[in-house]
């Protein structure tokens, strides 16, 4: 039984498709902005030490999450799942994406209008909601990968 599980886990290299998908989002969504900030501070000999919290303190992770949810909704729409499943998945991805995006919008509105803005709260809310969107997106991509193989 264990051998069969291991075989099923490793037999098809297509299973690594969603791993590549995560890597792309982590590299371009989180690592690249941080690396570019580090490069800039090093080039300008700035004493600033960039960290993710400072970089995304205005709730930008919420905006990234919204983009991520759009890409998963698009993948769901192109899948061969039944229309009910596609609708269900799309609605929840859209809801989670909008909630995450609203953190960035709220932070922007508060900063622009001068109403009390707390960067620590914006960071915490956007980080938690980004983690939610990311995990939803990850599992949805795994499910899509499995369904694509079952539908062959």
């Amino acid at each position: 039984m264990v051998a069969f599980e291991i075989f099923a886990l490793t037999a098809d290299w297509m299973a690594a498709k969603w791993l590549l998908w995560i890597a792309l989002y982590l590299i371009f969504g989180l690592f690249l902005p941080w690396a570019m900030t580090s490069a800039w501070t090093s080039q300008h000999r700035s004493p600033m030490k960039p960290d993710l919290k400072q970089l995304f303190q205005n709730g930008e992770l919420g905006l990234i999450s919204l983009m991520l949810s759009i890409s998963v909704i698009w993948d769901l729409q192109r899948s061969q799942y039944s229309s009910y499943t596609i609708a269900l998945g799309s609605v929840f991805m859209a809801l989670a994406g909008m909630m995450a995006g609203s953190v960035w919008i709220e932070a922007y509105c508060r900063r622009t209008t001068g109403i009390r803005f707390r960067p620590d709260r914006a960071w915490r809310d956007s980080r938690n909601l980004a983690l939610l969107v990311f995990s939803l997106a990850l599992v949805t991509e795994i499910l899509l990968d499995r369904f694509a193989k079952a539908a062959l």
């Binding site: 039984m1 069969f4 039944s82 809801l95 909630m99 938690n128 995990s135 599992v139 499995r146 369904f147």
Partner: protein, 144 residues
Amino acid sequence: MRLADPAATLAYLSLLFGFLLVLFPVSFPRLIVENWQNARLTPIMILFTVSVNLGLYLSVAHHRSARPGIAAAACLGSVPVFVLAGLNFVLQATIVHTFSSSVPNASLRVDEEILAHTYFSMIAAIFAPFLIIRLTQQFKKTDA
């Protein structure tokens, strides 16, 4: 109550589902499908989601030093039941639709549909009550 409060726990649950799916690609889906065929899946999920919701709500209330309200507790107890029961009807319609459309590998497709529905239903049943509580708070704030 902010939506970010339950979001982290929900994300960890979702990741756990993903890890189980990756580590046990055969036995975990089969466990879900067998429980669905024996009509045990929906009651188990209702029990699980209501417990998670109440635990989350109490921990957030404790963290914010707020007194848990009866209306919110009722919402957390009832909404998952309605959501899961409603989505179970949707899943049955999906299965009938898949078998009637005479697609190849219909049985495998149905198993995958059950798996996807179970996942989305779990997320919906945990997230929906908090979303309703949050929106109600927002409307109250606007009215005041």
